[in-house]
Structures are given as C-alpha cells and as structure tokens.
Symmetry: C3
Subunit: 147 residues, 3 copies
C-alpha cells in the first residue's frame, strides 16, 4: 500500500464519517416549513363571542386557503354552550366542521355541568380537558387565538 | 514521508473536516438572543379594554426600553372601534404610534362594518385579516397578549 | 509501525474526533422532553373569571399530575382584585399555592391602584410588570392561557 493510497483511504474514511455526522443536520434543514396551525379558545358564554370565533376560523381559511391551515376550536367553561344541541350558532358550527375545522368540547366542563354527548351537537369531538388541549397544541407549535 | 509526518497530515485533515462540520453549530450558538416581540390583540368593544391594551404596550416599553421591544397592536371585530376617527382613545393611540408601537386595523372587519380608511385614524396601518396577522406573528416567535 | 497499525490508529483518531463532534448533538437528543409549563393571565375584574382561571390550573394538574407541570397565574389590571386580602376567591388562591401553583401580582397595577403588599394576600409573589412576565414566559417556551 503506497502512501498516496493510504491518504486516499484516510480521506474516504473521514468523508464517510463526516457525511454520517452531517446527515441529521442536513435532514433537519430540509424539513418543509410547518403548516399553519391554530387553536381557537371559546371560554365565554356570549353568542357574540361564539360568532367572533367562527368568523376568525372562516377568515383564516379565506386568507390562507382551507387546505393550508389546521384549525381547532376548543370550548370550555361558559363557552361550552356554543356546542350544545340548542346552541344559537349550531348551523355555523356545522359549516365550520364541513369546512375542515375540528371542534372539541371539554369533558371536565361537561361533568361539571352534568352534560353528556346526547346534550351536545352530534358532529363534534371531545377532549378530557379543554385547557390541556390548548396548552399542548401551543407546545406543539400551534398559534393560539382567544377571541 | 515519515510515519510521523503522515500522522500529522492525517490529524490536520481530521481537524479541518471537524471544524467544517462544527461551524454551523457554532454559528447557531453565536446568533444574538431574539429581540422581544409581542402582538397585542384588541377584539373587545369596551373602552376599558382599549386602555388596558395601551397600558400593556406602555408598561412593556417602560420595563424593557422602547428600543428593545417590537410591539404590534391588532384590532379586529368589536375592537376595531379603538381605531376609528371618533375613538375615545385616539390621543393615546397616537402616543403609542409615536413611541414606536405599530397599530393595525383588520380589513375583514372594515368590510363587514362598511368602513373605509377615511373613517379611521389617519396614522394607523392595515392588514387584510387581523387574526391571520396575530397567528403568523406567533409562528414567527412573537409572544401574544390578549388583554 | 505497519500499514495496518497506522490504519487502526487513523480510524481510532477519526472515531474519537467523530464522537467529540457528535457529543453535543447526542446530548441535545437525550435532553428530557420539556416539562409542561403554562402561564395563566387574569386581567378581568369578574369573580367568575377568577374561578375559571383557578379551575384551569386545577384541571391541568389533575390531567397531567401536579408534579409534571409548572403553572403561573399572573394578575394585572382589573384582575388584580383576585389577589387582594378581601378577594372572593382567597381560599381557592391559597389552595392553588399549596398545590404548587405560583401566583404573581403586577407591581405596575399596584402602583396605579395605590396598593401595597399589606393590602394583598400574604402568600402571593410579585413581579414588576405582569404583562412582561407573561411575554417573557412565552419567549421561554411556556404556553399561555387567557381564560
């Protein structure tokens, strides 16, 4: 083995090790930009606030394109009324669901108000604790809107 | 070429490759700490809330130094009244603008309320959708205050 | 020194340098997942909102385990009444403190309302500017809840 061959072997080894070390970094850099994601909190008992939250969702979809944004509405406390069967905004909540918005009722609030799913709109989803959902979404990089 | 010289050449090569790999990491570490940036949402129609939002901006500037923080106030929905020509807090909004706060009215709310710029304070700025501005600022690392 | 021994020496050197370079990356990867951290803002003067904020803190602890989450409640503006000696929710604030929640009153609001610590609950803590505390916690990665 000549000295030249040894240096080529050496450089190849260094290059392979370097590539192996650099790979995760390069991978991290080529990750696509995160999709727009936003969690909207509804914790007030006023119909005007429910409509404002629904306007917010609709305007975000109109501005960015519904396919380019993930939206969650989480209702808890006095805001839970927004998702009851007799809600004044039930039609608009259904429209939001159809457009791709996810809508969650807080299980803790339901227990406190002695409500069960038959009391609620049929098409919504549930989380155990609305406030934990909102907290964790932020930790996962979602923006937070509190209308 | 002696074995010793070869080892020195080898070690130099390794050191150069190591430095090249480590450079982006070191670069990331030497990036200056991000400037304080905060977006303040005004979506209520009460003068007390408008004053609270303006107090928040003023207190942030007083505590951190106006030069060390970027502040945006975004008014939408019932909060838009804060920025109309006849706003009860027009003088304070002008003071905030003078101090470096950026103030935006929501274009969607203006359309819904059939308002045009002549109805608004002369010195403010506009965004197409207030809620999208607030969402995107958070995605860019800005803090969010909803007074 | 034989060619084989030289290659072993070379590979060892590369391996040591590689390990040294990779160490910070591996260290970063093995850092434990960040603890749940959330700052809850109280800026309304209504007892119902104070109870809702306290419910939020309690539900987060119940869902995640009190030992697994850091919670701060920051009261400012009209929300400061929550922490006065005569607060309607003083007992519940003490329970929150006992459970590990940190509770801060805003020094700017106290000055504006001409209040001093003897006017406040004995067990709470203070920050100079409540809104700056909330802003900085978000910049440090804390989630933000505004009930």
């Amino acid at each position: 083995m000549s000295a030249t061959l040894r240096r080529i072997t050496l450089l190849s080894t260094v290059a392979i090790v370097a590539a192996w070390i650099a790979a995760p970094l390069a991978g991290a850099q080529s990750t696509p930009a995160p999709k727009n994601r936003v969690v909207i909190q509804v914790s007030d008992g006023e119909t005007a606030k429910w409509n404002l939250a629904l306007n917010n969702a609709r305007n975000i979809q109109a501005d960015l394109g519904a396919a380019n944004v993930e939206i969650e509405i989480v209702a808890y406390g006095p805001g839970l009324g927004m998702l009851k069967r007799d809600s004044a905004v039930a039609t608009r909540v259904d429209e939001a669901l159809t457009s791709g918005v996810k809508v969650f009722a807080c299980g803790n609030t339901m227990k406190a108000q002695k409500l069960t799913p038959p009391d609620m709109m049929a098409s919504i989803s549930y989380v155990e604790a609305g406030v934990v959902e909102i907290m964790q979404r932020q930790q996962q990089g979602w923006a937070y809107i509190r209308p």
